[in-house]
Symmetry: C2
Subunit: 238 residues, 2 copies
DNA sequence: GACGTATTTATTGCATACAATATTGACGAT
DNA sequence: ATCGTCAATATTGTATGCAATAAATACGTC
């Protein structure tokens, strides 16, 4: 009566669209698709061996999370967030991640702290070896913090915001912009560990500010034109 | 060349699933369905004259917004948030709505203030005449504030949180709990109008606190049992 | 040769049909 | 009579087919 814990071809207890969703999400966040790229249902479905129905569901979900845009009768394309979107996203992050820290004060157990430190160690490790994994891990640190709050909706929002932040960074951030985050993460853990609410909140606040300014200093000139056009075009439905 | 602004049978430029989504959302928020009620695709589709495909899309979206729960192979049912969910939701609201107020300081034009005052007048009007519309309007005041920030993602989150708050209130709030909100709304507008950042933030903070405590004082005894069971059941996947 | 229009092609919107899973009810054994 | 098992029913998961809309191409006119 033990449920088959099969090997590779596990009978999925979860809908296929979840798998497609995850694949597409990873592909978008790793910039396998350029911003603005079209995402036709049938080519994706054909490639992944599922029907358009499934792809459609995955696309609808990605649309809900702001990773793609879905215009009626025109199909889906990878989001091309504007600089203004970037500022908005980071403003909300700042607010919510301060709440994360605030919620965590006085509730962090020793194993939780160990988990956080292990994660930052991994970030440190990847910093030199694997730069692309590095930015991924830096984002996941924030998601991990949010998870530790045990606040489901806070976790969902932070996760979504971190994803979208990474799109912003890839569009407007300067290269190597996430390197220096590791030390800030360590300081934050230290403040949390000593239940220093004021300090931890301030650190998080400055940390997000730092990420924001690293990313959005000015309208990194090359993208600015296309982005400006995109903004006008969107208003006209083009 | 004027696009047909037809009467009732307007050629919908928007997908049908949007209409179904809105209908179901309203029905849920107005408590036409009890919390936990099953939402079978067939019967809904049949009733609304659309196929299951459409209903499915609407349900997926509602699931993404936390208004329903969608368990694989088991179908959808109206969410039955726990008291803990309630506290989590209000905690996030408090954080984000403070950001709303903070973003609005120094950016409110005269027409905006007029719009806010008109809204609160409507709240006042409905307070005695139409109690059910009253709670609806009270929520929409917060959505309106969020919209005025021009921060799209902030608006989305606040909208979602207000919806979910209304579910929480209907489950755990005492009757007439939203009556006293109107005066608080007026004070808030006044503080915003005089660009009093400190005062406005504090007012919003206390306002959300007030809503929270009106709603969640304790596990309003009658629902407590069913809710407790629901919490355990959910852990077991039932 | 350039522009506007018609036709063709591609892609999305929707509904239906079939397969897989869960739920319900009936039946028989203890 | 109660429990467990099996069949019947209902509901969800997925794929496919047709209709509607948008995009691309070809054509004719100026």
């Amino acid at each position: 009566m033990i449920p088959k814990t099969s090997g590779s071809t596990q009978k999925s207890a979860v809908p296929k669209s979840d798998a497609v969703y995850r694949i597409l999400k990873r592909a978008i966040l790793e910039q396998a698709f350029a911003a603005g790229a079209k995402l036709p249902e049938d080519s994706i479905g054909e490639r992944l061996g599922v029907s358009r129905t499934i792809v459609r569901q995955a696309l609808a979900r990605l649309n809900g999370e702001g990773l793609i845009e879905l215009r009626p009768n025109k199909g889906a394309c990878v989001s091309h967030p504007s600089l203004e979107d970037g500022h908005n996203i980071f403003a909300v992050r700042r607010s919510l991640e301060t709440l994360v820290v605030d919620s965590l004060i006085g509730r962090l157990t020793a194993p939780m702290i160990k988990e956080l430190e292990a994660h930052v160690d991994a970030e440190d490790m990847a910093r030199l070896n694997n730069p692309s994994a590095s930015i991924q891990l830096a984002g996941e640190f924030h998601v991990l913090l949010a998870r530790l709050t045990q606040n489901a909706i806070l976790l969902r929002y932070v996760t979504e915001l971190v994803s979208r932040s990474s799109m912003i960074l890839s569009l407007y951030g300067r290269p190597h912009s996430s390197d220096c985050a590791v030390s800030e993460h360590r300081e934050l853990i230290a403040a949390l560990a000593r239940n220093d609410r004021e300090g931890a909140c301030k650190l998080m606040d400055h940390h997000i500010e730092a990420i924001t300014s690293r990313a959005l200093i000015k309208g990194s000139s090359e993208n600015d034109v296309s982005n400006l056009l995109a903004a006008y075009a969107r208003e006209e439905g083009l």
